[in-house]
């Protein structure tokens, strides 16, 4: 009898796992179902470009159905409960879905309520709607102080605040208001980025472009009426425009669940990606509690590892954990503005050694943006 594989989440990770399994397993071996909250699959990296008018916010999503192998069933119905003991998922429609194998790929969501004053005082680009509001504010910006930073930990796409800062400096220059504008980049650590090799070139570029920094700044509260952002270290910064990555949490049904923590980050083995020592449940992408980047790239490298284990389990084959394991691989572009970009490529054993920003790497990033739909979620590369 065919085994029942359920994949929760129709983002990058869930789609890749589903498509690999659909091509690897016969209908007699397994049925594959993706359960997702939205019929739309958003290419989230595009959101960075919306505030500067480089990307139309109406053109960053495609139907999830169009990205899945025809053998994969799609259910659009938010998950409300996960019963590990009875191996069942319950959705908002009250329908229940049993599983033999489960993949949790429900991503992360913004939680603006976590920081007092955030909703009223800060802007961001972590949803298409917020990115468009920021676009309108930047269009009408005529000079002043813009403070950029991180509003909570963890957050997805660790390099995005740096990219935004670089692109902002270019935007203000082209708008001929750079002289009347001050950019203050804040960061939680005692350096401009947590990877030393990247931090060195970023700091040099910041100095060249007159971008000020405020380090050891972890946002604690925003006072929108006074336009002041306050840190847990006791620093207060005045702003005219405040762009902060919002705090993030896991999917609501996971918050406080037995397999996750209070914020919904799932207990995941760093190599096998198995959940909480369960033999038939895996997790990937933003959803995990792993201390690695919450990025589509992470899910991209994790997905094949999970698919191989599921196939082996169904076929009752032995898996060599040294050969089938996630090694921590992540690869991310960093847009630097003025048509250049660099790249971070690393794993658990090898820190990144980013090259100086080039036009060629920027071109590769643009190519990825363009061809994402045809290659990545469909698991063709």
């Amino acid at each position: 009898m065919a085994k029942n594989i359920l994949i929760l989440g129709g983002g990058t990770g869930g789609s890749i796992v589903a498509n690999i399994l659909a091509r690897s397993l016969s209908p007699q071996e397994a049925t594959i179902t993706v359960i997702t909250a939205s019929p739309q699959h958003i290419y989230q990296p595009y959101q960075l470009y919306i505030p500067f008018g480089y990307q139309d916010p109406r053109k960053i999503a495609r139907s999830e159905r169009s990205l899945l192998h025809r053998r994969v069933a799609l259910v659009v119905d938010p998950v409300e409960a996960l019963d590990i003991k009875n191996q069942t998922v319950v959705c908002r429609s009250h329908k229940s879905y049993p599983y033999d194998y489960l993949v949790i790929a429900t991503g992360s969501t913004v939680d603006e309520q976590q920081i007092p004053g955030f909703k009223e005082g800060a802007d961001h680009f972590y949803t298409p709607e917020a990115a468009f509001v920021l676009y309108e504010k930047l269009q009408n910006f005529n000079g002043g102080t813009i403070v950029v930073g991180i509003g909570g930990l963890p957050y997805k796409c660790p390099v995005a605040p740096i990219e935004f800062t670089f692109m902002l400096e270019e935007f203000l220059t082209k708008k001929a208001i750079r002289q009347q504008s001050e950019i203050i980049y804040t960061f939680p650590l005692n350096d401009v980025f947590n990877i030393k090799t990247a931090a060195d070139y970023i700091k040099a570029d910041f100095d060249k472009r007159n971008i000020k920094t405020e380090l050891f700044f972890n946002l604690s509260e925003i006072h929108p009426e006074k336009k002041i952002a306050e840190s847990i270290e006791g620093t207060e910064l005045s702003y005219d425009l405040l762009v902060m990555t919002p705090p993030h949490k896991g999917a609501p049904f996971l918050r406080g669940h037995e397999i996750a923590d209070a914020d919904g980050w799932v207990q995941t083995d760093r190599h096998s990606l198995k959940v909480a020592q369960l033999e038939n449940v895996w997790s990937l992408g933003d959803t995990t509690n792993l201390p690695i980047s919450k990025a589509g790239s992470t899910a991209h490298f994790q997905a094949p590892v999970i698919a191989k284990q599921i196939c082996a389990a169904i076929r009752k084959e032995t898996v060599d954990p040294e050969k089938v394991k996630y090694n921590g691989h992540v690869a991310c572009f960093i847009e630097s503005g003025y048509g250049k970009a660099t790249m971070l490529d690393f794993d658990y054993e090898h820190p990144p050694q980013p090259p100086p920003p080039t036009e060629f790497i920027h071109f590769q990033k643009l190519a990825l943006n363009k061809f994402y739909w045809y290659l990545i979620p469909k698991a063709l590369i």
């Binding site: 660790p158 939680p188 650590l189 947590n194 972890n218 847990i232 201390p291 690695i292």
Partner: protein, 80 residues
């Protein structure tokens, strides 16, 4: 460490992004006052930066325990 109950610990060995100090900041922010949290790291920069942040944020660095393989367990109590 004897007598100290660690509420939550993250093994950040091999974590380059977001990195061990970010994990400590995340643990402290989500902890209750009085909780003891810990991060394990083998990163050289962390040995300097993590105690510096704990001091700046006015929490208590209880101990730095050696862990096999040349790593360190940084144990911190949230004070406020």
């Amino acid at each position: 460490m004897e007598g100290i109950k660690i509420t939550k610990e993250v093994d950040a060995r091999g974590s380059f992004c977001p990195g061990p100090l970010m994990e400590m900041i995340r643990l402290i922010r989500s902890a209750q006052v009085g909780d003891v949290v810990a991060v394990i790291s083998a990163d050289e920069g962390t040995k300097k930066d993590l105690p510096a942040w704990i001091k700046k944020a006015k929490h208590e660095l209880i101990a730095e325990e050696p862990v096999e393989g040349g790593a360190t367990r940084f144990i911190c109590r949230k004070l406020h």
